[in-house]
Amino acid sequence: MDISKRPQTFERQKGFSNTVRTEQVSTRPATYYLSGAKIKRFKMLEESSEPGWLSEEVKTGTTIIAIEFDGGVVLGSDSRVSAGETVVNRVMNKLSLLHDKIYCALSGSAADAQTIAEMVNYQLDVHSIEVGEDPQVRSAATLVKNISYKYKEELSAHLIVAGWDKRGGGQVYVTLNGLLSRQPFAVGGSGSAYVYGFVDAEYRKAMSKEDCQQFVVNTLSLAMSRDGSSGGVAYLVTIDEKGAEEKCILGNELPTFYDQ
């Protein structure tokens, strides 16, 4: 396993985690719902003048997508991490490595999602040494599902697991709320609501690798332009038999639409 490709830990994002919140006196509830509207309503009642990032939980309100093609998968995500109305990280890569040819896309609470990804990364390493070969995508998805289901009351993160293995080829699994389901493609995060119609209309079976990449980029661009919690750059990961290829598409290179 290539050490340099380990998933990013929260400490590496400079600045935010070092801030010690000693000034904070308000008692906030420990859990926040995924819906951005719920957090905004809470803020109005509080009438607080402090900036959101001092007290709001950090969320990857997000758009993530994964799609399988014959011989691999393509994963895509935006790069915005928000705490209330503040964008605390505008270049975060939400496509996290679980193994050489298995990645997961993070959404929901940033802390919860990253912790799950790191735990599963470790468990997969142990498992792959025990069996003596590369793990199956289904195994990775099951490990994520087990954590999501067991701690479903405490966690609020949704991970889409996708990758390639020699037994099943390219596969995409969703693990929302602790279920496990394989799908030809999956979208997730707050921005996904705006593109359900688009992906339903545009998806066709047996698309080529380049078609899938274009499909992912178009979907991300549409969602990022409509969802306030998604934005920044688009990250793409293409996984096939030969390995994983990461790509970053800057904001000005994304496709634009009629009103831009």
Binding site: L34, S35, G36, A37, R41, L176, N177, S190, A193, Y194, V195, Y196, G197, F198, V199, D200, A201, E202, Y203, R204, K205, N218, T219, L222, A223, S225, R226, F257, Y258, D259
Partner: protein, 247 residues
């Protein structure tokens, strides 16, 4: 409608589980509505479902309400509120048109909606799209969402199902489309939204408004555009079930 609570992955139930929710929930046109302008007129469309909680009170609702000969409104939100506002505006516009002695402007109708929706914004829950044709500016679409803002747009969607079709609309709308392209865009978008939104469904009602008149159509469930991911046929294929022929 209900844009603030649109992200419902798992509905938290409120109140007693014994009584069915349609005894307590308000009647709402949780809905998908859409309007597109083209050179020479507008095309408007809506689904046909009215719900009280989980019960479908009316599965063949007509949410495209005429306000004047060439001006329609698409209603979303509380059924009672939108019907009442539409009645008030129909009266006001009819009176104004008699005073003026000519056909009223779409912008006038839109401003009348805005006036009522803004003044009573605390009591009302209404999201309305006003669309029509007039001599001065041709086809126009004005949207008056919850809260009472007014803005003119070339294409507009509204209602609870609208969130799912923003991406489809952004990618498929181009300026200067023909009437047939607009009809296909609206019926395609509505069928996608109806597939994903539990509060939208039934049939698709369309209307094309132009100088010559209003042309209304109904597209039944089995005649809707088909996509590879939605509906009866992909479901059967994915489960290996036999596909029974539909009429």
């Amino acid at each position: 409608m209900a844009a603030a609570t649109a992200m419902r992955f798992g509905q938290l139930s409120s109140g007693s589980d014994m009584a069915p929710d349609w005894t307590t929930k308000e009647v709402s046109t949780g809905t998908t509505i859409m309007a597109v302008e083209y050179d020479g007129g507008v095309v408007i469309g809506a689904d046909s479902r009215t719900t009280t909680g989980a019960y479908i009170a009316n599965r063949v609702t007509d949410k495209l309400t005429p306000i004047h000969d060439r001006i329609f409104c698409c209603r979303s939100g509380s059924a009672a509120d939108t019907q009442a506002i539409a009645d008030v505006v129909t009266y006001q516009l009819g009176f104004h048109s008699i005073e003026l002695d000519e056909a009223p402007l779409v912008q006038t109708a839109a401003n009348l909606f805005k006036a009522s929706c803004y003044r009573y914004r605390e009591e009302l829950m209404a999201g309305i799209i006003v669309a029509g044709w007039d001599k001065r500016r041709g086809g126009q679409v004005y949207t008056v969402p919850v809260g009472g803002m007014l803005v003119r747009q070339p294409v507009s969607v509204g209602g609870s199902g609208s969130t799912y079709i923003y991406g489809y609309m952004d990618s498929n709308y181009k300026p200067n489309m023909t009437k047939d392209q607009c009809l296909r865009l609206v019926s395609g978008a509505l069928s996608l939204a109806m597939e994903r939104d539990g509060s939208s469904g039934g049939v698709v009602r369309l209307a094309a408004i132009s100088e010559t008149g209003v042309d209304r159509q109904v597209i039944l469930g089995n005649q809707l555009p088909k996509w590879s991911t939605t509906g009866y046929i992909p479901y059967c294929l994915s489960k290996g079930l036999e596909i029974y022929p539909t009429v």
